[in-house]
C-alpha cells in the first residue's frame, strides 16, 4: 500500500544521500521525493512517497528515525491528509490546436505560464489522478516536455469541539 511519509531533517549537506542510501541499501521503494527548507531554515522537510506492507512501512519509519540527522518522522497515512503535486507541461500547439489546449487548461483550472507561437507551457496542480488526466488529454496535441514536482502533503487539522465553540472566558 502507498504511504506518504513526512521527514523533518537537519538542513545540511549529505542528508539527502543518507536518506536515499537508506532506501536503496535496504531495498525500499521511493516513488517520489520532495525536499525543501522549513520555516526554521536549519531544518528541511522531505515528503517521501513509498509503498509496502505494514511490516515494511514500520521498518521504513524506524530506520528513518534511526538516522542521526532525522529529527521527526510522520507517516501521514496514520490520519487524514491532503496532498498535491504540480506539473509543468509544454505542449506543441499548431494554430488549429491552440484553442483546444486552452479549453483543456481551463477544465483543469490550469494556467498558461509561457507561450510561444508553437507551444504553451501549462502549470497544473492537483492530486496525481488529475495530473494523469490532463496529461492524457494533452497527449494527442503532442507533449514536448513534462516535469512533475513529486507530491507534497500535510496532515489535515482535526476539527476539535473546543475550536468551534466560543470560549467560555469570552462569555464571562
Amino acid at each position: 500500500m502507498e504511504h506518504i511519509i513526512a521527514v523533518t531533517v537537519e538542513n545540511k549537506f549529505g542528508v539527502l544521500s543518507r536518506v536515499a542510501g537508506l532506501f536503496s541499501g535496504r531495498g525500499f521503494n521511493i516513488e517520489s521525493l520532495s525536499v525543501a527548507p522549513t520555516l526554521d531554515p536549519s531544518m528541511s522537510q522531505m515528503i517521501i512517497v513509498t509503498s509496502g506492507d505494514d511490516r515494511i512501512i514500520e521498518q521504513i519509519v524506524k530506520q528513518l528515525n534511526k538516522l542521526i540527522d532525522v529529527i521527526k518522522v510522520v507517516d501521514l497515512n496514520e490520519s487524514e491528509f491532503v496532498s498535491r503535486e504540480t506539473a509543468l507541461i509544454k505542449v506543441h500547439t499548431k494554430a488549429e490546436d491552440r484553442a483546444e489546449a486552452l479549453r483543456i487548461a481551463d477544465i483543469f483550472r490550469a494556467n498558461i505560464i509561457d507561450s510561444t507561437p508553437a507551444t504553451y507551457t501549462i502549470e497544473v496542480t492537483g492530486d496525481p489522478k488529475k495530473i494523469e488526466a490532463i496529461i492524457n488529454l494533452l497527449q494527442p496535441l503532442g507533449i514536448k516536455e513534462l516535469t512533475r514536482t513529486g507530491r507534497v502533503a500535510v496532515a489535515r487539522e482535526p476539527i476539535r469541539a473546543s475550536v468551534v465553540q466560543p470560549k467560555k472566558v469570552a462569555r464571562e
Binding site: 531533517v9 544521500s17 511490516r55 521498518q59 534511526k66 532525522v70 529529527i71
Partner: protein, 593 residues
C-alpha cells in the same frame, strides 16, 4: 590557547580518555603523525595494513567496552579500513575512525590519493563527519565519541582534510554534547516491563535468548540474577558468549546454525522467548515461518529497528538491557515463589533429556589425527583459570571455539559475527592485548583465515603484543568444504588450499615463536609451552582434514531439524576415498614438522 588541528586532535582524544590508537601514516595525515610523535600520552601502534588497524580498534573496544580508535590516510588507507568499519557496524562495536583527506581546496578534483571517504563509509558507519573548518574539529570529535558509544554502539568516521589538520584555532573542548535529532531510549516502558514479568511468571517453557547487546550494556549481573531467580535456561548467540557463565547449569550454550542441540530444541519448543539484546539473525531463526511456533516473544533491545524486523514480537521493550533487566528483576523478586519451579519441572526434565541424549561430541583416537574440537577443548581446560581473552576468525574453527570454549565472563570473546570477516581474529586479539598487556590473549584461527591478516605479525613483534595464535590447520577453507560435502556433492571447488605455508618458520621469519603439535600426545605440552612464552606465538596444529562441525541447521532449515553427524552417504563416500585415515600428504606435513 591556539592550537593547530593536529594538536586539537590529540588533546581531544586525551579528553575522551583514549590511551592507544591503531594507525598507519600517509601524505595527508603527516602533520597529525608529526604531532603524535612529539607527545607521550597516546600510544601509537603502527599497523602493517589499515584493515588490521580497524580490527585492532574493534578488539580493543570489545575487550574494554570503550571506543576503539583508528587513524588512516586518505584514498587507499580509507578503502582498506572499510572492511573493519563494515564489521564493526554489523556487530555494533563502538569505534571512532579518523581518516585523512586531501586539502579542502582539492576535494572533488580527483587529487592524488583522494577518495570520497564520506560516500564510501556512509552505508557502513553509524555516522560520519567531514570537518571543513578547524574551529569545528573539537566539537566534531566530541560528537563522534558520543554517537559511537551511546544507544546502539557503532563505528563513526571523522574525515580530516590536510589543511584542517594544520590550521590554527582556539581550543576549547566541550563538556557535554546534545544532538537534537539523536536521543537513544534507555528506560524501558514500565507497562511493557510489567507485561513481560507477568508472561515470565506464567510461562511453562521459557527460554532466555541473549545476544551481544547485553554484553555492550554490561548486563551480566542482572542476567545472572534473572536466570537464577526464575530458573530459566539461557541460550547465547555467537555475539553473546560470555555474558552468562558457560559452565553454569542454566547455560544451554550457543544457539543457531551450529548451536548445541539443547539450545536449539529449547528455542523451538518454548512457549516464551525472552530475547535480550539479540536481533533474530537468520543464523539463529533458520526458517522464519517455522521459528518458535509455540512461543510468545518478549524482545528487549535498545534499537527500535531490531524489533519486529524479522520476527513478530508480542512484548517489545525498547531500552538498555541492563536498565530494563534491573527493573524486571525488581518486579520478579517480589512475585517469584516456589510455584514456577513446579510449573517448569517437565520443561527441565525435557531439557536434561536433550542434553543427555545429544551432547556435543567428537571422537579423538589416541594415535589418530588430531581432531580440531580436541584442540579447543584442551586449550580451554589448560587456560580457563587464567581468564583468557579469546578471539577467532571465521569458519569451522570459530564454531568449534564457540562450542567448546566455555567463557565465564563477558568481554572475553572477540569474534566477527554479522559480517563474518576472515582475518578478523589476529588483529582483534592484538587490540585486546594492547588494552590489557598482562592478560592472556588467545587467537583461535584457521589456516585459511590467519593468512588474511598475517602481515600484522610484524606489528605484534614490534609492539610487543604476545598474542598466542592456535592455527587449526586442515589445509582447507573448512566451512566451505563442509558445505560442499553436504550440499554440493563433494565437489571441492576452490576450497582445498593444498598447501599452507610452514607456520612455524613463518613465525620465526617475523621474529615470533613458532611451535607445532603433530600428535595428540604432543598437544598439551606444546600448548603449555606457547602460553608460557612472553612473545607472539603461532602454534600450528595439523588437524584431521575432513572433520565437520555439528550440530548443523542447513541454511533456511528449521531449528529442531539439526544434522548431528555426517550423513551415511557422506561417510560411505569418505570411507571409499580412504578419507579418515592419515593420508600420505598428511604424514608428510607431520614428518616435515
Amino acid at each position: 590557547m591556539k592550537l593547530n588541528g593536529s594538536e586539537i586532535f590529540i588533546e581531544s582524544l586525551k579528553r575522551e580518555g583514549v590511551k592507544t590508537i591503531f594507525a598507519l601514516p600517509g601524505g595527508v595525515v603527516l602533520k597529525i603523525f608529526d604531532m603524535l610523535h612529539q607527545q607521550k600520552d597516546l600510544e601509537v601502534i603502527l599497523t602493517r595494513h589499515e584493515q588490521g588497524a580497524g580490527h585492532m580498534a574493534e578488539g580493543y573496544a570489545k575487550a574494554t567496552g570503550k571506543a576503539g580508535v583508528a587513524l588512516v590516510t586518505s584514498g587507499p588507507g580509507m578503502t582498506n579500513v572499510i572492511t573493519a568499519l563494515a564489521d564493526a557496524y554489523m556487530d555494533s562495536v563502538p569505534l571512532v575512525c579518523f581518516s585523512g583527506q586531501v586539502p579542502t581546496s582539492l576535494i572533488g578534483n580527483d587529487a592524488f590519493q583522494e577518495a570520497d571517504n564520506i560516500g564510501l563509509s556512509r552505508p557502513c558507519t553509524k555516522y560520519n563527519f567531514l570537518v571543513k573548518d578547524v574551529n569545528d574539529l573539537a566539537m566534531t570529535i566530541k560528537e563522534a565519541f558520543y554517537i559511537a558509544t551511546t544507544g546502539r554502539p557503532g563505528p563513526v568516521l571523522v574525515d580530516i582534510p590536510k589543511d584542517v589538520s594544520m590550521a590554527q584555532a582556539e581550543f576549547v573542548y566541550p563538556n557535554s554534547v546534545s544532538i537534537r535529532s539523536y536521543n537513544p531510549t534507555y528506560e524501558g516502558n514500565k507497562w511493557q516491563i510489567k507485561q513481560a514479568a507477568e508472561a515470565i511468571m506464567k510461562a511453562k517453557k521459557p527460554i532466555l535468548y541473549v545476544g551481544g547487546g547485553a554484553v555492550f550494556s554490561g548486563a551480566a549481573q542482572e542476567l545472572l540474577e534473572l536466570a537464577e531467580l526464575t530458573q530459566i535456561p539461557v541460550d547465547m548467540t555467537l555475539m553473546g558468549l560470555g555474558i552468562f557463565p558457560g559452565e553454569h547449569p542454566l547455560s544451554m550454550g550457543m544457539l543457531g546454525m551450529h548451536g548445541t542441540y539443547q539450545a536449539n530444541m529449547a528455542m523451538h519448543y518454548s512457549d516464551l522467548v525472552i530475547a535480550i539484546g539479540a536481533r533474530f539473525d537468520d543464523r539463529v531463526t533458520g526458517k522464519v515461518a517455522e521459528f518458535c511456533p509455540h512461543a510468545k516473544i518478549i524482545h528487549v533491545d535498545i534499537d527500535p529497528t531490531s524489533i519486529r524486523k524479522n520476527i513478530h514480537v508480542d512484548i517489545p521493550i525498547v531500552g538498555d538491557c541492563k536498565t530494563v533487566l534491573r527493573e524486571l528483576n525488581q518486579i520478579l523478586r517480589a512475585s517469584v515463589n516456589g510455584e514456577q519451579k513446579e510449573l517448569r519441572k517437565p520443561w527441565w526434565d525435557q531439557i536434561h533429556e536433550w542434553q543427555r541424549n545429544h551432547p556435543l561430541t567428537y571422537q579423538q583416537d589416541a594415535d589418530g589425527p588430531i581432531k580440531p574440537q580436541h584442540v579447543v577443548k584442551r586449550l580451554y581446560e589448560l587456560t580457563k583459570d587464567r581468564d583468557p581473552i579469546v578471539s577467532t576468525d571465521v569458519g569451522q574453527h570459530q564454531m568449534w571455539a564457540a562450542q567448546y570454549f566455555k567463557l565465564a565472563k563477558p568481554n572475553r570473546w572477540l569474534t566477527s559475527g554479522g559480517l563474518g570477516t576472515m582475518g578478523f581474529g589476529f588483529p582483534a586479539a592484538m587490540g585486546a592485548q594492547a588494552a590489557y598487556r598482562d592478560r592472556l590473549v588467545l587467537c583461535i584461527a584457521g589456516d585459511g583465515s590467519i593468512q588474511m591478516n598475517m602481515q600484522e605479525m610484524a606489528t605484534a613483534v614490534v609492539s610487543k603484543l604476545p598474542v598466542k595464535i592456535i592455527v587449526l590447520n586442515n589445509r582447507f577453507h573448512g566451512m566451505v568444504r563442509q558445505w560442499q560435502d553436504l550440499f554440493y556433492e563433494g565437489r571441492y571447488a576452490s576450497s582445498d588450499l593444498e598447501n599452507t605455508p610452514d607456520f612455524v618458520r613463518l613465525a620465526e621469519a617475523y621474529g615470533a615463536v613458532g611451535l607445532r603439535a603433530s600428535k595428540v600426545g604432543d598437544l598439551d605440552g606444546v600448548l603449555k609451552e606457547a602460553i608460557a612464552v612472553d612473545k607472539p606465538v603461532i602454534v600450528d596444529v595439523p588437524t584431521y582434514r575432513f572433520e565437520n562441525c555439528y550440530p548443523m541447521i542447513p541454511a533456511g532449515g528449521c531449528n529442531h531439524e539439526m544434522i548431528l553427524e555426517d550423513p551415511p552417504e557422506l561417510k560411505k563416500k569418505q570411507k571409499q576415498a580412504g578419507v579418515g585415515k592419515v593420508t600420505p600428504e598428511d604424514k608428510d606435513t607431520v614428518l616435515t614438522a
